[in-house]
Every structure is written in structure tokens, then in C-alpha cells.
């Protein structure tokens, strides 16, 4: 009898489990815009996530303005998480159906969210409210459109890459920032850019990299510092050099194959591996353990490449290294190239009130909020007039940021290679880059196999 009770109990528990296992995902969320703009009579709270702590105060300002001037019944709670925790936290939040209503989205990540069906298409909202997607820098809005024509984000800012130099070290070597601005690079001998880097390298005995007796095994200051591990796309590291050597990662956004086997890429990666070996570029082991920007800021490297979002960190009050920026060197194709990357705000299917979430996204993508962000002088907003404000704010602080914006003015940018499996591609290529930069194999030998793996990931 009691055994029967127990069995019944166990059976009930098992049933409950099956129900729990199969029952998930009953709410497919996702609101679509109805014919006319709704009014918000009841108080609504929007959860908004971002990762950049430097921008948090300005988005909090935007949120306050939004509630005060636009939608009195919608309040926005701004939450910030560091870059690493942000994506793990977001994944966990999606899995537990507690994701924020709106979050700052990245081009490398959003296609995987789209594939998983957790983002709300903004097409109906954009059409209904007549949002002008041409008010942004050309190309930025289209980055957020999937091959199906669905729009999953409204642009908030853009970033480009430039050379970052330690002006004290430049002065010691008798180099001016203009020398870097007019430098040329090639993957064979480094070009005039390479000569500058060699002159800036100093070994423990004070011998410079271009002088006789230079000891590459005992370097005190490297001429060029890698910003970080290369990864697959090398936004802040190799991408500008490879692109100015004629390399194109993918022929089109959302491509089913990539070009990791191209000779232009192999030459570029091999150049850095050789120059690490020769003592002019920071060893990848040091970069992995300390971080490239830390090495630069501690005076271990005279220059680096970095993104425009780092300007306030590199030129901020807390830095000890005096910094000047130069455009990237001109490569073998006769032009410079900077990756043109942009962030946007996306609405999740977890949003309880997509209409209210849209109002907030629309506000952040409007001049009213982007001008506030521009005044903060942390990033370049997606709207040109707001970026002008950011430039003026930087100039007022005595920081010349034209090295970053010149790429946009001259049209020497290329877009982030959007693809639907960025994390798998990173996992396939990242370790191979680590191997090449450690000198454990040549780029020409190792990259083709990685290319094959990437193509099977993208094609599959």
C-alpha cells in the first residue's frame, strides 16, 4: 500500500517534470506595431542594458529627459555590466526569460540573436512612425537589417580605428605625429610605418630597433603594441592592416563563406608574427596576460591601434601617458582602411510592452538623445550633427580626434563582416591566430585549414 503511494508520488513528480520540460517557451512574445501610435496611460518601466560604464551617466540623462519631455508614463532603468559579463548575463537572461526590454547590441552578436528569434523586428514601428533611417551616417542603419529585410536595431553610434601614440616617446625618437599620418605600410618590410616602429623600439641597453646591436630578446619599449588577441576579425588589431592590403573578410554581409584562406590575410598575420619575433611588436603572451592597452599605458609600447570608444580612457584625466592620434597607415592598395562598426539598440521578445520599448529606442536614435551623448564626448553618435558636437567637445578638452573621423570623411572605411555564427568562427580562428603569433607555424600553413572550418560553419 505504502509502496503504491510512493510510486504514485514518484510518477506524479515525473509527470510534472515532463510537463516542465515540454512546457517552456509558451510565450512567443514579440509585439508588432498596430496601426496607430499607442498612448501610455499606465506607468511602464523599461529595463535597458549597456556595457560601457563611461556612457552610463549620459544615457541616464537621456532617460530622465525622455520621461520628463516625451513619455511621462514611461520610466527607464539603465543597468550597466562589463563587456565580458554583459553577453554571458544576457544569454542567461534570455534563457531564463528575464531579459531586459531594450539592450545595446553589437554587430558581432546580433545575428545569433536573430537566428534564435529573441529580437523584435522594428519594420512596422519604423514605418508607422516614419523614422528617417537616412539621418544616420551612410551604411549604419543597413548594418542592422537581416537578409529577410527585417530591421533589428536603430543605430546609436559608430566607431573607427586609429593609431594611438605616446607623444613623449615620439619626441625622444625625433618623430612627429605628422610622420605617422603620412606613413605607408606594407606586409613585406613594414614600409615607412615600419621604419617609425623600429625607431621607437628600445632594448634594455637603450639601443633603438633601427640601430646596430639591437637585442630583440631583451626589449624595454616595443615600437608597436597589439591591442589584444587577434581573434577572427581583429577589429582593433590586424583588420585595418589586412584591409589596406586588399583583404576582404566576407564578400557581403551574412555571407555563406569567408576568405580566411586569402594570401592578403596570411601576409598580414605573418608580418605581425615576424615583427614579434624581431622584437618590434609586443609578444602575444604579454598581451594575453596584461592586456594591450595596459602595456601601452604603462609605457611598454610606444604606439598601438585602438577604437574611438577608447578616446576618453586614453586621453582622460586618469592617464599618465600623453597621447596623440594619427590616422592608420596607407597600405599597398594605396589607401588607409578602418573598420566601421556601429552599435544599435534592440528590443527583445521578452519586452512586456514592446510599444513602450520602441518609444525608448526611437528616442535614443533621435537627435535629442544623441546630442546629449555627443556632449558626453565618449563615443561618436550615429547622427552626423551629434558627432559634430562630440568632436567639438573633444576639441574643447584639447584632444584632436580627427584621426578617427578622417576615415569617415574620406570614405576609407569597411564594414564589420556580419555573419550568423560569429562565436563559432571566433572559436575556429582565434586559437590558430594564437599559434601563428607564437611562431608555432606560419600563417600560410595554418590559415587554410581554419578557412575550411569557417566555411563549413557558415555554409552549414
Amino acid at each position: 500500500m505504502r509502496n503504491k503511494t510512493l510510486r504514485l508520488f514518484a510518477a506524479l513528480l515525473a509527470l510534472a517534470m515532463v510537463a516542465a520540460a515540454c512546457g517552456g517557451g509558451d510565450d512567443d512574445g514579440g509585439g508588432t506595431a498596430s496601426g496607430e501610435a499607442p498612448s501610455f496611460d499606465e506607468p511602464v518601466e523599461i529595463d535597458y542594458w549597456l556595457w560601457d560604464a563611461n556612457q552610463q551617466p549620459f544615457y541616464e540623462q537621456c532617460a530622465a529627459d525622455f520621461t520628463a519631455n516625451v513619455q511621462p508614463n514611461i520610466t527607464v532603468k539603465v543597468e550597466q555590466f562589463g563587456w565580458g559579463d554583459y553577453w554571458t548575463g544576457l544569454t542567461a537572461a534570455f534563457a531564463s526569460e528575464s531579459a531586459p526590454d531594450v539592450f545595446t547590441d553589437h554587430l558581432a552578436r546580433y545575428p545569433e540573436f536573430v537566428e534564435s528569434g529573441v529580437l523584435v523586428s522594428l519594420n512596422d514601428f519604423v514605418d508607422r512612425d516614419g523614422v528617417d533611417v537616412n539621418q544616420y551616417f551612410p551604411g549604419l542603419a543597413e548594418l542592422w537589417t537581416s537578409p529577410d529585410g527585417d530591421r533589428f536595431g536603430l543605430p546609436k553610434d559608430f566607431d573607427t580605428i586609429a593609431m594611438v601614440t605616446n607623444t613623449d616617446m615620439l619626441a625622444d625618437a625625433g618623430i612627429t605625429i605628422e610622420d605617422f599620418a603620412s606613413a605607408e605600410w606594407n606586409p613585406q618590410d613594414g614600409g615607412t610605418w615600419g621604419e617609425l616602429i623600429q625607431r621607437l623600439t628600445i632594448d634594455a641597453n637603450g639601443v633603438r630597433g633601427n640601430e646596430d646591436g639591437f637585442d630583440p630578446s631583451n626589449v624595454a619599449v616595443y615600437g608597436f603594441g597589439l591591442e589584444g588577441a587577434f581573434g577572427a576579425f581583429g577589429q582593433t588589431t590586424f583588420s585595418s592592416f589586412a584591409a589596406s592590403n586588399g583583404y576582404v573578410a566576407t564578400d557581403e554581409p551574412w555571407a555563406n563563406e569567408a576568405n580566411f584562406g586569402d594570401a592578403e590575410l596570411a601576409e598580414t598575420i605573418q608580418f605581425f608574427a615576424d615583427w614579434i619575433e624581431a622584437g618590434y611588436v609586443t609578444p602575444i603572451e604579454d598581451v594575453e596576460s596584461l592586456g594591450g592597452t595596459t602595456i601601452f599605458q604603462e609605457g611598454g609600447a610606444a604606439t598601438q591601434t585602438n577604437g574611438s570608444w577608447m578616446i576618453s580612457t586614453l586621453s582622460g584625466d586618469a592617464t599618465t601617458v600623453p597621447v596623440a592620434y594619427a590616422p592608420l597607415p596607407v597600405g599597398p592598395i594605396g589607401e588607409r582602411r578602418s573598420m566601421f562598426n556601429g552599435l544599435a539598440d534592440s528590443i527583445t521578445t521578452s519586452a512586456e510592452n514592446p510599444d513602450a520599448a520602441w518609444e525608448w529606442v526611437k528616442y535614443m536614435a533621435s537627435p535629442a538623445c544623441q546630442e546629449v551623448i555627443g556632449e558626453g564626448a565618449v563615443v561618436f553618435p550615429a547622427i552626423p550633427s551629434a558627432t559634430k558636437i562630440a568632436q567639438d567637445a573633444h576639441n574643447a578638452n584639447g584632444v584632436d580626434v580627427s584621426a578617427f573621423t578622417v576615415h569617415v570623411d574620406d570614405g576609407t572605411t569597411f564594414l564589420f563582416p556580419i555573419n550568423d555564427s560569429a562565436s563559432r568562427v571566433e572559436d575556429a580562428v582565434g586559437p590558430v591566430m594564437q599559434q601563428i603569433l607564437r611562431g608555432e607555424g606560419t600563417a600560410a600553413d595554418l590559415l587554410p585549414a581554419a578557412a575550411e572550418e569557417v566555411n563549413s560553419i557558415l555554409g552549414g
Binding site: 513528480l13 515525473a14 517534470m17 520540460a21 528569434g117 588577441a229 563559432r424 586559437p431
Partner: protein
């Protein structure tokens, strides 16, 4: 008096034979915990391994054995199993030998509870703290361990430094094994020590009378008599060792590295499961690897129990 005693015994007997309801209520709290947090998730994981469940969408289709077929041809899976095995050999080898030495010394030399407590200190530290601590100490640029090796100098033994333990594909697994050995040796030693205490002191006295040396006593008395305890300890520590994750995730990630690096040299099986589930959102595949891992661990445990005859003791 006699009658009362008899009656008590009798009623005790009744209670024992009808003890199920009582036992049930006593077991209920842990049964609920076991069911909710262990049994049901295990069943669900088993179910997920037959689906292409997407972590973000929290949805998936039944795909039958598809995940297992992929797994059978997945080089990364075999690679990470080998990495894990190499780690387990290094970790369990060094940890068990050290723990036995410490336990025997404690048993033969001291009864101090202070020393026993000190042994447990590393075990009390959270894994992430341990990982961060050693990440700094083993760093190639400013780590104290490198300074120590240089100061000793141990160059003739290890070669010329500085050693970048977490950035060198050949050193990263030994380094992680050493960290976990440092963390768990004290705890393992205490388990073995408890087993040693069950060996009657009279056996040692008799051996001493016969003129046996300490080493002989260890080989012919201690080792054989503590076999059942050792078997239990090995099963526990080996299963635990296969599950190494947090130290790898934190220490090899470092400040600018990639967890599991360099060049995937420290991608242990738990990290591979984590990557599939969290980075690639492929919960179904991650579940399939987990199921296979459970089967492997069950096999390893069964073999161990049998080889070490864990059920029998020579003490009887």
C-alpha cells in the same frame, strides 16, 4: 522490570517493521531537494540531448540521435577529453601521493587539531578566488612564482624564465593541476587520515616489537589496511577532477586571453560543454556531451571499485 524491558524491545521491533512512514517523512526534505535540483534536471538534460535545443530561444526540435552522431565525429570532443585526462592524471597523481604522505605523518606524529585545520585552509577558499590568486602569482611579468624561481635559482631544473604558465600551451594544464593539487591535498589528506584512524594501533605495536621499520610498516600495514578508504577517496577525487572548470575559465581567460587557451591547450571537457551551451547556444549538443561524460564517469568509477575491491576490508 524484566517485563517492561521486554515490552520495550517488542514495541521497538514493531516500530522498525512499520518504519516506512517515519522514514519517509525524515527523507522527504532531501527527497524534494534531490528530485527538484538533481533528478528532474538530469532527466531533462537527458531529454535535451536528443533535441537541437537553442538556449536563447528556449526551444528545440526532437532530432533523435543526431547530436550523438555529431559527437562521435567531433575532433574537438576527443581533444578536450584527452586534455581532461592529462589533467586528471597529473592532478590525482600528485594530490593522492602528497595526501597519503601528509595523512601518514599526521597519524604517526601528531594529534594537533590546529595542524588539521590549517591543512583545510586552501580547500575553504572559493575556486574563483583561488584562480585569480594564482593567475597573479604565476604571471610571467610580475608573478611572485617567477621571482622565486629566479631567486633560488632553479634555472638548471626548469630552464630559463620567465615562465608564462597560462600563456604556454605546454605548461597550462600542469599549472592548473598544480593549483588544484594545492587546493585539495589538505582535504584529501584529512579523508585518508580518518581512514588511518580505523587501523588498530596494536598492529603497529606488534610490528614494532618485531623490529619493522616505519617504511615497512607503511608498505605492509598502512597501505593494505586503508585500501577501502583509499578506494572511496579516489572515486570522489577522480570524479571531482574530471569536473574541473572554474579555475580554467578564470585563470586561462586572464585579462586578455581566451578561456581554454592558449591554442585550446586547456579546453577541458567541462569548458567545451560550457562553450557549446553558453557561447554557441547549442544546449542540445552540450547536453549530449554531458550524458556521454556521465557514462564515462560511471564506467571509470565501476572499474575503480572493482580493481580496488572497495567493498571488502582486510581488517575483519
Amino acid at each position: 522490570m524484566t517485563a517492561a524491558t521486554t515490552k520495550n524491545v517488542a514495541s521497538n521491533k514493531t516500530n522498525l517493521s512499520g518504519g516506512w512512514p517515519v522514514a519517509f517523512w525524515f527523507l522527504l526534505p532531501s527527497l524534494i531537494g534531490f528530485t527538484l535540483f538533481f533528478f528532474l534536471p538530469t532527466l531533462r538534460g537527458f531529454y535535451l540531448s536528443f533535441t537541437d535545443w537553442n538556449l536563447l530561444a528556449n526551444d528545440g526540435e526532437f532530432t533523435g540521435l543526431e547530436n550523438y552522431r555529431t559527437l562521435a565525429e567531433d575532433d574537438k570532443f576527443y581533444d578536450s577529453m584527452l586534455t581532461t585526462l592529462w589533467y586528471v592524471v597529473l592532478n590525482i597523481g600528485s594530490q593522492t601521493i602528497l595526501a597519503i604522505m601528509i595523512a601518514v605523518m599526521m597519524d604517526r606524529l601528531t594529534n594537533s587539531t590546529t595542524i588539521r585545520s590549517i591543512l583545510l585552509l586552501p580547500w575553504l577558499m572559493p575556486n574563483v578566488v583561488v584562480a585569480l590568486l594564482w593567475l597573479w602569482m604565476l604571471d610571467g611579468n610580475f608573478g611572485v612564482v617567477n621571482a622565486f624561481i629566479e631567486w633560488l635559482p632553479l634555472g638548471w631544473l626548469f630552464g630559463d624564465g620567465p615562465f608564462r604558465f597560462f600563456q604556454d600551451a605546454g605548461k597550462v594544464i600542469p599549472a592548473i593541476a598544480a593549483i588544484n593539487t594545492w587546493k585539495f591535498t589538505g582535504y584529501t589528506a584529512l579523508l585518508i587520515f580518518a581512514g588511518l584512524q580505523t587501523i588498530p594501533k596494536t598492529v603497529y605495536e606488534a610490528a614494532a616489537m618485531d623490529g619493522a621499520t616505519e617504511l615497512q610498516m607503511f608498505r605492509r600495514i598502512t597501505l593494505p589496511l586503508m585500501r577501502p578508504v583509499l578506494a572511496l577517496v579516489l572515486v570522489l577525487t577522480i570524479v571531482g577532477s574530471f569536473q574541473v572548470f572554474d579555475i580554467v575559465q578564470v585563470a586561462t581567460g586572464g585579462f586578455g586571453g581566451q578561456p581554454g587557451g592558449p591554442v585550446n591547450a586547456s579546453r577541458v571537457i567541462y569548458l567545451y560543454i560550457f562553450q557549446n551551451a553558453i557561447n554557441f547556444n547549442d544546449l542540445g549538443y552540450a547536453a549530449a556531451i554531458s550524458v556521454v561524460l556521465v557514462i564515462i564517469l560511471l564506467g571509470v568509477t565501476a572499474v575503480q571499485m572493482r580493481l580496488l575491491r572497495a567493498g571488502e576490508s582486510d581488517l575483519a
